[in-house]
Symmetry: C2
Subunit: 239 residues, 2 copies
Amino acid sequence: MTILTDPRLPLSPHRTRLSNLARLGAAALTVLASYERDQNISPPRREMVREGDHIRKPQALVSGWAFEQHILADGRRQILSVLIPGDLIGVRGHQSPFGSRSIVAATQVVTCAVPEADIGTDLEDAYAASAALEKQYLIQQTIRLGRMTAQERLIDWILETQARLMLAGVVSGNEFAVPLTQELLADALGLTNVHVNRTLQILRRDGLLSFHGGAVSLLDRPRLQSMVGYRAPGRIETG
Amino acid sequence: MTILTDPRLPLSPHRTRLSNLARLGAAALTVLASYERDQNISPPRREMVREGDHIRKPQALVSGWAFEQHILADGRRQILSVLIPGDLIGVRGHQSPFGSRSIVAATQVVTCAVPEADIGTDLEDAYAASAALEKQYLIQQTIRLGRMTAQERLIDWILETQARLMLAGVVSGNEFAVPLTQELLADALGLTNVHVNRTLQILRRDGLLSFHGGAVSLLDRPRLQSMVGYRAPGRIETG
DNA sequence: CGATCGTTTGACAAGGGTCAAAATGCGTGG
DNA sequence: CCACGCATTTTGACCCTTGTCAAACGATCG
């Protein structure tokens, strides 16, 4: 446990992320670290959370990627959000009262338990900020799907994802892994896998970004940002 | 005040709505009623809440419709949610940290103040349920925009809106007012006004529903429901 | 009665979807 | 080390839903 909280070692993604969302005291960090020993592994494609499942202890992604999906009656799928290391599950009302919404592992996923937070604590602040951010992402997803072209959706999503990865401290540069198939990307962006493929080729041809074998390179960040009206990340409000 | 809480008179929309979301005691209802005297009127098109505005007392819509919008750099607009009588504003983290998101009156809108709720009270439960529902609506909006056709978006949105109007007790039958232009509808559903118009004509021609002069008639509810895989409203979880 | 806003219509364009097949990559077993 | 099987990516041809642009039509209001 001393090892886990040693400042010279990198924090786990969710401790990094929560530390970036609220000033966490040593006590909170220690509790979080101790909970990390309660781990769980899901293989790719495993439904980690089924729709009815809301009686479940809160967890955090330690490694691997997952996504929350909704399946329509005829099989069409919409991915509501992609979950990356450091993300929380079931912490603040992640329940799905109705409809077939579930969380599925995209890669092998390691999760760990996280403590409940008492009201008024720094940890509670961090959870609230996390929930507020999640809501922002959902809103941005709505905007992407409603009013952006295929190129813009791809760019906007990738920039957002990079920012999220940096928040969790698992990425620093303009080159990083995105272990999702083009089909998953398509279901996240409201497109078809074929069209995602063609759009990626265009972006590559124009020297904007590349996406090969699960690795993204942002080749021309300024231009990418201007193409989607990049909004500087503001401070997160807790509510 | 006695008049406002007289059980023989209809409750205001937000008291009806909150009563349907949690069992409210007489005390809570009385407080809500007393707050209703602090009213405010916005004319159509008034920006009721600007993006930066998050220091603002919580309010409820007493009458009229509004919507929350986001404007892209080149002017494209996405409506994130439509607000109807009984809806709450600024009660649980309705802030917008960044981006140009604002709440705009669609018709003349009357709002009133609502009290803060102490933790553990019935009122707090109702607010939490309300926030959970709002999140559901946002998720459903994402699904509509990402994976539904124009017809399905229209139908799904209208059915959802009717259910919401009934929750607030301002509508009971299959015929009700929707005081939005086709252009607003288009921006809510990720379409153009022209296409909304043509889609409505098809729905009308097929005897499914009509939409004329701000009034909707659901002509064939069973068929409408089956066309969008209608999900029976489940119980709302508080989190 | 003219202005203005919203709805409706028409002709045409284009972004993105569909279907099917080929190519590529990759893990596994022999 | 090779061959096979499977998932994923890529390509091609074609089509359909939805968008664009522009004008006509209709209602509402000082």
